[in-house]
Amino acid sequence: MDLENQKRVKEFAEKYGPENVVVLLGASEGEASGLAAETVTNGDPTYAGPLTGVQLGLKVYHVCEPEIKKEFDPEVYDKNVGMMEMVLDVDDISNEMKPIRDQYCKF
């Protein structure tokens, strides 16, 4: 995850409390989604950014995961995400995201 984004996620968690922050990802494939999810839950696995060794345990979803899709107005979702949902390997993304949430999410 981009170092600047790590910094911003960390600042939001400090400002609003980690229990009040949900990180929504739009990454293009499973591995990148998993890495970003790991970064905001268990800390930066590449040991490069501000979240190195910081276990925020935030709630994190990819926008194409069914858990978060049902939170949207279907029309808005179709207009903004419908095309990408057709393009992305949603199962692969879900399979990467779920275990990380189960293991590291604190909320």
């Binding site: 293009s28 494939e29 591995e31 990148a32 040991y47 903004n80 995400v81 095309m83 990408m84």
Partner: protein, 514 residues
Amino acid sequence: MKSVIKGTGYILVHTPDMVLHNGTTQTTERIVNPDGEYLKELPKHIRTYEEALSYWPNQVYIGNKTPQELAAVEQPWYDKTCDMNDRFGRFGQIMPQEEFILLMQACDVFELIYLDKDFVAAHKGELAANPLIDETIMARINEGVDKAEVERLVKEEHSEGLYNKGVLVGAVNRAHDIDTNLSAHVMLENIVSKASSVLSLLAAVHNAGIAKSEVEYVVDCCEEACGDMNQRGGGNFAKAAAEIAGLTGATGSDCRGFCAGPSHAIVEAAALVAAGAYKTVVVTAGGCTAKLGMNGKDHVKKGMPILEDCLGGFAVVITQNDGVNPEINLDILGRHTVGTGSAPQAVISSLVTDPLDRAGLKVTDVDKFSPEMQNPDITKPAGAGDVPLANYKMIAALSVKRGDIQRADMMKFIAEHGMTGWAPTQGHIPSGVPCLGFVRDNMLKGNIHRVMVIGKGSLFLGRMTNLFDGVSFMVEANDGKKEEAGVSEDAVKSLIAKAMKDFANTLLAQEEKK
């Protein structure tokens, strides 16, 4: 007057030592994790010049192999040797680091670069033998200084070292004691960009078969900025490179837009020619040291060679309609506007389907789409996926939503209207434009008739706006009709004479009626 693509130049420069010393992934790692495994492992993953020459995507970039031939080679490509390893191709060349360091010195007009005189003596003949390099450029090469002086500059004067095969062979001095915009680091990046732009210009002008004196305007669309503390992005890379390339009849300016820069620049250049402001405009861009080895950590972790070991450059010569070369159709432009938004669906609509709708065309009326043509061999192991393929999937998915194609035909559409990526991940370099050499070839042969080039840029990286950006344009086969360049003086005289004669006749007729 329409504008046409008269020729293109595509160059790579193999710069293994710059990967280690100037790529930001490596320079950042040297600060945050200097004793880490990555920096220890990295040198074992650097490719030789010969290995870079026989790398499939590199041979496609300079035009010795085609994207179609590349698509037939099973991925990954880094473990396969291309059966072509010529350093020269029909679009340009792959320059070795030694020649490039000398070319950098030739491009330095402020006595900032000092090379070890033994290095100069050993490699000067190699640069002189390069068919694109003439005596005027060779005359700019100094004999160099003692190695001890180079070492002193790096140790005592904050100069940036230039290395070859791990040995210090030169130094780039800072151009100001305090101004960070003229620091040695910035000067090195900018001179690298300039030198690779010069090589691209030379290749393109040569390939277009025009005289250097015909070039009236140059537009540079790289992603660097040159200036001082009072005008940080003052410019002008275009004119600076044109000077060294010997384009004495040209002026120019810089156009910026992150990775969308080249598409913006080509639209602007085509418009300048179409408007009659200039007859011949060249769009050019040099390469970027910062991005060398950008995904190196993933490549090393996966036991791969460092594939981002080449600077890229390109130039496109745009001239008035000659009735032969492919036209840039300015009636079919796509643009991501301030109000478009950043959802991928909105982005692709604004760049691809909106301009087609305005022109009354369907997605399937376009033979090929050329979005960001990044080499997937580089991006896939780094978790960024296959960028061109992702773009094609988006275009296909949008076409399904619009009813242009059936969902079951998405992959067929991608195979027919897409291309496999081959360009180095040098930001602006892969953005749409790498296809233009092949597009020109295939349109001249009559194989294809309409290609959409799509450039996209991540403006938010500059922290001035959160907006995304993009622009697209259409290249079409020439319909063969040669246009007159405006109305001639004689034609104007005869029109006036005819009007006066008609007027006189009318007056006479009125007199007669009375």
